[in-house]
């Protein structure tokens, strides 16, 4: 039987009726058409499906939608709500060549957001640990580490405002 849940996703409130066996990943992509969040391995290894739930990075493929009733979700679409002005993390990824095929990018950027909230000036070691739950088969990770370092600088320069979303 479907259950009623309330979610706040990227600042918008939703009331949804969902089957208990559907994942947050399915509900975001199929019901809310937020297809920026990807589905990769489906078992919590690859990180492509990472979103923030109440500020914590989680694998949306292993999260039941009914288990996040009344929670606040941020997906990659929430990084640039206008769709025009990119978030400093996104700008840094583009500038540093941290995107090739792009499949891991949405998840990587959500973990970067989570990391920079916890550690505004992360060391390289902290960055590598912060993205250790992600697989990228294109870049070899170095550009991603450079992008997150760069994003840290950009965010400090604009007073950390980009971390409030």
């Amino acid at each position: 039987m479907k259950q009623q849940i309330k979610l706040n996703v990227n600042g918008d409130d939703y009331e949804l009726f969902v089957d208990p066996w559907r994942t947050l990943n399915e509900v975001l992509r199929e019901d809310l058409n937020l297809t920026g969040t990807k589905l990769g391995c489906g078992v919590g290894d690859c990180g492509a499906c990472t979103v923030l739930v109440d500020g914590k990075s989680v694998s949306s493929c292993l999260t039941l939608a009914v288990a996040v009733d009344n929670k606040t979700i941020v997906t990659v679409e929430g990084l640039a709500p206008s769709g025009e002005t990119l978030h400093p993390i996104q700008t840094a990824f583009i500038e540093k060549g941290a995107i090739q095929c792009g499949f891991c990018t949405a998840g990587m950027e959500m973990s970067a957001l989570h990391l920079l909230k916890k550690h505004p000036s992360p060391t390289e070691q902290e960055i590598r640990e912060g993205i250790s739950g992600h697989l990228c088969r294109c870049t070899g990770y170095n550009q991603i580490v450079e992008a997150i370092t760069d994003a840290s600088g950009k965010l400090k320069a604009d007073g950390g405002g980009g971390l409030t979303s």
């Binding site: 039987m1 259950q3 089957d19 208990p20 066996w21 559907r22 994942t23 489906g42 078992v43 919590g44 290894d45 990180g47 990472t50 914590k56 990075s57 989680v58 694998s59 493929c61 292993l62 999260t63 039941l64 009914v66 288990a67 973990s111 989570h114 640990e129 912060g130 250790s132 739950g133």
Partner: protein
């Protein structure tokens, strides 16, 4: 990977959860972080008809520490909370390291310590140090509550001493003894995030320059986390020396019962038991001398 159909209920009280598990019978499963159970369901290895969520049950959230009573960790407490809690980091650093080593950041933000133990994987990263520390699990059932040493909790791969319908409510860890130290050592194929091929937890205390209450617990080299009792006995009360540590490490290796699987061969695991046991003994000893 569509999941099989089930009902999901998030009770607010322990009594309600126990009633639900009793009514649901074999089809019901307790659901904490879900990071193991969701994968099993997705692969068709588990097909519960009712999930009873742990996370909204009152009184099962969070960590409390009292220098005379020790540590109490509620069943809904996340691995990230264990890894970062100031008292755990300060008084139980090896426990914090094991929690921080488990899986990856996203999984640690979802998965619970109690879930890692109740899943009863032989490789459970958090088990060796907790067993070595003399941790207990507090268990609630319809007939009342009981406490059980974690040492006797694991019965086989995926099997625990829990009776049907029982719930682990807390993990209880005694206060660290005077001049004691612990260590967690591990090795895995994919660096930080992989399941351990071998992990080792050691605790000991130093009295009159001699190691006492030595506990060496090996993970992923037997059907359950296992004590290396022969190695413990070699060190207990003996003069600390490099030769002795080497002998004990080899003894632990002999005692281990690994199998060959996707993560490592039995032969490699046996070798690594010796290496990790030596490192764990050295670190626990060094920490004990500082405490």
């Amino acid at each position: 990977m569509r999941l099989p159909r089930f009902e999901y209920i998030a009770p607010k009280t322990l009594d309600a959860a126990l009633d639900l598990l009793a009514k649901g019978g074999e089809g019901s499963r307790l659901f904490a972080g879900g990071t193991d159970l969701m994968v099993k369901m997705g692969h068709g290895l588990a097909a519960p008809t009712m999930l009873v969520a742990v996370k909204e049950i009152e009184g099962l959230n969070g960590i409390s520490f009292d220098p005379s009573k020790g540590l109490s960790i509620g069943a809904a407490t996340l691995l990230v909370e264990v890894a970062e809690h100031p008292d755990v980091v300060k008084y139980y650093p090896a426990m914090a390291q094991a929690a921080k080593k488990t899986a990856n950041p996203q999984i640690r933000n979802m998965a619970t310590l109690a879930g890692n133990l109740c899943n009863a994987a032989p490789s459970a990263d958090n088990a060796p140090v907790l067993v070595a520390r003399g941790a207990e699990v507090a268990i609630a059932g319809l007939k009342g509550t009981r406490r059980l040493a974690l040492d006797g909790f694991f019965k086989g791969p995926g099997i625990t001493a829990l009776a049907p319908g029982e719930i682990v409510t807390h993990i209880l860890v005694p206060p660290p003894a005077k001049a004691s130290g612990a260590s967690f050592q591990w090795i895995s194929a994919r660096g930080k995030v992989d399941i351990s091929a071998v992990c080792v937890g050691v605790t000991l205390r130093v009295e009159d320059d001699l190691p006492k209450d030595v506990r060496i617990v090996l993970g992923a080299v037997g059907p359950t986390p296992m004590r290396a009792r022969g190695a413990e006995a070699l060190i207990e009360g003996a003069g600390w020396s490099k030769e002795l540590i080497g002998k004990a490490a080899l003894k632990a290796s002999e005692e281990s019962m690994p199998i060959t699987d996707v993560r490592a061969s039995a032969e490699y695991r046996k070798n690594m038991v010796a290496v990790l046991t030596r490192r764990a003994l050295e670190e626990a000893h060094a920490r004990a001398l500082q405490n």
